[in-house]
C-alpha cells in the first residue's frame, strides 16, 4: 500500500471521528447519520451513489435504535465509514463488506460505553475540581471530546486495516452459494426498512394515542 493512500485513509478516519462528535458531544445536528456520512465519503472516495446506497441501507437497519438516556446505540457513522473505506481500498463487493461494517458499528457502541464508564468513575473528583476552579469545566469538556475523537479514530483505523485485511483473507473462501445469499439479503434491506418505518409511524396513530 502506498504512503499517499495510507495518508488518505487516515484522513478519512479522522473526518469520521470528527463527525462522530456530533452524536454525543456537539449539537446533535445529525451530521453523523449514515446518509450524510455515506454521501460525504462517497463524494471523497469517488463513488457517491454507492455512498448514498450504503447510508440509506444502514439507516433503514438502525431505525429501531433510539439513543435515549444511558442506552448507547450502534454507530451508523462508524459502520458507514468502515464499509466505504474497505470497499474503496480492497475493492470487495458491497454485499460482502456490509454485514462486517455493520457489526463493527455495533462493536463501537461498546467502546463508547466503556469511555463513558471511564468518565463516570472519575466523576466525583471532576466535580470537586470544578467547584474549586470553574475554569476547569471547559478543559474537562475539551478533554472528553479529545478522548472520544482519538478513540473513534483508532477504532476506525483498526477496523479498516485489521478487520478489513482479515475479511479479505476470508473472501476467497466465500462460495457462490453464500455469495448469492449475501446479495439476496443485501437487496431486501429496503423492504425490511419500509416495514419498520411503517410500524414506527403507524404505532398508536389510530387509537388516539399518537404521543405514546
Amino acid at each position: 500500500m502506498e504512503l499517499s493512500l495510507i495518508l488518505n485513509i487516515l484522513m478519512l478516519c479522522l473526518i469520521s471521528a470528527v463527525l462522530e462528535l456530533d452524536t454525543s458531544f456537539i449539537g446533535q445536528f445529525q451530521i453523523a447519520r449514515p446518509v450524510v456520512v455515506g454521501t460525504i465519503f462517497g463524494l471523497l472516495t469517488g463513488n457517491i451513489i454507492h455512498g448514498l446506497q450504503v447510508g440509506i441501507f444502514l439507516e433503514l437497519l438502525l431505525v429501531d435504535f433510539v439513543p435515549v438516556g444511558a442506552f448507547v446505540v450502534p454507530s451508523g457513522n462508524v459502520a458507514a465509514t468502515c464499509i466505504l473505506i474497505m470497499h474503496s481500498i480492497y475493492e470487495c463487493p458491497p454485499h460482502f463488506i456490509f454485514p462486517i461494517g455493520l457489526l463493527c458499528g455495533w462493536g463501537y457502541a461498546y467502546v463508547e460505553k466503556y469511555i463513558r464508564i471511564f468518565y463516570s468513575e472519575k466523576h466525583e473528583l471532576t466535580e470537586k475540581n470544578i467547584v474549586n476552579n470553574l475554569d476547569t469545566i471547559k478543559k474537562w469538556l475539551l478533554r472528553n471530546m479529545f478522548v472520544n475523537l482519538i478513540s473513534t479514530f483508532l477504532y476506525v483505523v483498526f477496523v479498516v486495516f485489521v478487520i478489513g485485511k482479515l475479511a479479505m483473507l476470508i473472501l476467497p473462501f466465500v462460495t457462490e452459494k453464500i455469495n448469492l445469499a449475501l446479495i439476496f439479503s443485501y437487496l431486501i434491506i429496503p423492504w425490511i426498512g419500509a416495514g419498520r418505518l411503517a410500524v414506527n409511524f403507524g404505532n398508536n396513530l389510530f387509537n388516539g394515542k399518537a404521543h405514546g
Binding site: V35, T39, E124, L141, S185, Y186, G202
Partner: protein, 281 residues
C-alpha cells in the same frame, strides 16, 4: 431574557451532552450552560460556589427540549438571588422541583418527537428524494424499492447530494427553532402553561408527522412499483418482485411486534438464505 445571555445559553446548550456520565447524567453540561447566568447574577465568589454545588445535581433531559428548562431555571435563579434570606430555602426547593418536573416532561416529549419520529421522518424524506433522483437516470441497479444508477456520468452527481441535504434541513430547521424559542418560552411563561411547554400542541405535531411519514413510506413503495412496472418487459418480473416486497414488509412488521430488531432480521435473512441456497441450488 437578556439577549446576550440568550445567545450564550443557546450556544452552550449545544454542548449539553459533552459531560455525560452514568452518575449524574448531564449535570456538568448543565452547569456549563448556566455558568454565564450564574456569573452575571452572583458576583460574590462564596455565594457562587454554593450555587454551583446546587447546579451540579442530577440533570437529564432531551438536549433539544432542554432549552425550556434553561429558560425557566434562569428566571428562577434570578428570583433566588433577589429573594430575602429567610425565603431562599423555599425558593431553592421550588427550583429543584421545577427542574425535576420540566426535565421529565420535556424529555418525554423530545425523545418521542425528535429522536424517534422526526429522525425517521427526515430519513423517509431522504429515501423518497433519492428515489426521485435515481429514477431520473437511465441505468439502474435494483435493490429493494431503491434503484441506483450504475454509471455516474449518467446523472449530475451533485444531485445525489440532495437527499442528505434535505434530511439535514428537515431535522435541523425544526430543532433549532425549538432550541431558540424554548429559551424564550421557558423564561417568560409561568407554571400555568407548564413553563411554555403547553404553548405548542405537541400531540398534534407528533400525530401529523406520523401521518406524513406513513404517507411518504407508501409513496416510496408506490413510486417503485409504478416505475418497475413501466420498465419491466415481463409481467412475471413485476409479480415476483411485488410478492417479494409484500412478503418482506409483512415479515418486518410481524417480527417487530415479536421484539426482533431490523439488524437481527437482516442477520436471520443471511442465515436462512445461506441454508436455502445450499438446499435448493
Amino acid at each position: 431574557m437578556d439577549r446576550n445571555i440568550r445567545y450564550k445559553i443557546f450556544f452552550r446548550s449545544l454542548f449539553l451532552k459533552a459531560g455525560w456520565n452514568f452518575k449524574k447524567f448531564q449535570n456538568i453540561g448543565f452547569l456549563f450552560v448556566m455558568l454565564p447566568t450564574l456569573r452575571k447574577i452572583y458576583k460574590d465568589d462564596k455565594k457562587l460556589k454554593a450555587v454551583i454545588k446546587r447546579n451540579l445535581e442530577i440533570f437529564n433531559t432531551n438536549p433539544i427540549m432542554s432549552s425550556f428548562a434553561f429558560g425557566v431555571l434562569t428566571r428562577l435563579e434570578e428570583e433566588i438571588s433577589k429573594s430575602e434570606k429567610k425565603n431562599v430555602e423555599e425558593i431553592e426547593e421550588h427550583w429543584r422541583l421545577t427542574k425535576e418536573a420540566i426535565t421529565t416532561a420535556s424529555a418525554s416529549i423530545g425523545d418521542n418527537l425528535f429522536l424517534a419520529i422526526l429522525k425517521d421522518f427526515s430519513l423517509v424524506v431522504a429515501v423518497f428524494l433519492s428515489l426521485i433522483v435515481s429514477f431520473k437516470s437511465l441505468t439502474y441497479t435494483h435493490a429493494g424499492f431503491l434503484y441506483f444508477v450504475d454509471e455516474i456520468e449518467v446523472v449530475n452527481s451533485l444531485t445525489l447530494l440532495i437527499p442528505a441535504i434535505a434530511m439535514l434541513l428537515t431535522y435541523n430547521i425544526a430543532t433549532l427553532m425549538i432550541r431558540w424559542n424554548g429559551l424564550k418560552f421557558g423564561y417568560n411563561c409561568t407554571r400555568f402553561s407548564c413553563y411554555g411547554l403547553r404553548i405548542i400542541n405537541w400531540e398534534r405535531i407528533i400525530r401529523n408527522t406520523k401521518i406524513a411519514g406513513l404517507i411518504l413510506v407508501g409513496l416510496c413503495v408506490t413510486y417503485w412499483w409504478f416505475n418497475t412496472s413501466a420498465m419491466s418487459v415481463n409481467i412475471s418480473d413485476v409479480i415476483v418482485t411485488s410478492i417479494e416486497a409484500i412478503a418482506f414488509i409483512t415479515l418486518a412488521i410481524v417480527l417487530k411486534k415479536k421484539g426482533f430488531s431490523a439488524i437481527q432480521l437482516y442477520i436471520l435473512c443471511i442465515l436462512v438464505a445461506c441454508v436455502l441456497s445450499f438446499i435448493v441450488l
